[in-house]
Symmetry: C2
Subunit: 192 residues, 2 copies
């Protein structure tokens, strides 16, 4: 059940069997069915969720009821309303399963205990968030500097798996476009 979690962990820094056992003691797992919430806006986000299996999305809903997808998470990704997790304030984002999924959960206090007992884990955590920051930065850059067509191509080249598994209108939402526009971009690209 925790295979992928520990595989990813050891990819960046090697952890001993002992360290891994300590860490494992603080983890729990959860299954979420398609269309079920892992987190709802307004609730406090109590955990980080590492995706062992499945696919989830994190999004806001505006006054007009339109959904804006901030993040997808497939196997091996971490998803959470990080601000709510860190501060204990109510969440501003929703997290929902796109496919039946399995996640590994880490609470705030669990994370703090792990930091104390396995200091290397804080280094891992720092590298993890640094990677997430860099990805977010690239996304901002694509949003402010690329044409819509380039933006779509950039996304598909970066995340081909997401394109395969996620409905097109969600990709449109992630890119800040309407479904119609994405459909037209695809048509135009296919013509080439």
């Amino acid at each position: 059940m925790y295979e992928l979690f520990f595989q990813k962990l050891n990819e960046k820094i090697l952890f001993s069997e002992e360290e891994q056992t300590i860490i494992k003691g603080y983890l729990t797992t959860k299954k979420i069915r398609r269309k079920q919430y892992l987190l709802q806006e307004g609730d406090v986000c109590k955990t980080l969720a590492f995706v062992e299996k499945g696919a989830l999305k994190e999004y806001t809903v505006d006054e007009k009821g339109a959904e804006h997808i901030l993040q997808f998470a497939l196997e091996g990704w971490i998803i959470s309303d990080l601000y709510s997790f860190m501060t204990g304030e109510p969440a501003t984002y929703n997290i929902e399963a796109i496919e039946d999924s399995e996640v590994v959960l880490i609470t705030k206090s669990a994370q703090e205990e792990i930091f104390k007992k396995v200091p290397k884990y804080e280094s891992y955590s720092r590298m993890q968030i640094t990677g997430a920051y860099l990805a977010m930065q690239k996304r901002v850059n694509s949003l402010i500097s690329l044409s819509l067509e380039e933006r779509y191509l950039y996304f598909t080249s970066l995340y081909p798996t997401i394109v395969q598994r996620v409905p097109q209108h969600m990709i449109a939402s992630y890119l800040g476009l309407t479904p119609e526009t994405v459909s037209r971009i695809r048509k135009k690209l296919a013509a080439k």
Copy 2:
């Protein structure tokens, strides 16, 4: 010369005099005149730069010569091409002073040494990058979900000081808009 740097450091976690002396030993400073580069695309980004005084911008230039601003940094902010800094690959961004500035520089090896000798500094570093991630996430959200007018208002409410000190066309670039559009948004808002 390092006043603000240590002030910010102690805001999040308290460091002893001893620890601060160790850290100080790894820092250097640099003055940059307005319009001078701290980093040019293609060069390797050797340092993180903490802004003690002044204002800088980080940006890309596209094929048409248009500038896209990824980040501003005023006093107390850190600026760097983080990917280049982490990996040693050539930088994809430029960093330039908007005003005459003074920065505190930390090289990669200096950072690693500080992590070893002052472990708390890695916690600080993790919190620092987490904050940067959250800010970037909010910016993505504003880019995909707000109208241009809302985006402008969001920016000005979040960073009133930047609005005061930085030319309007740079703010347009940061927001992914043309200078003309920002001018018209301002006109419209003033009419209210």
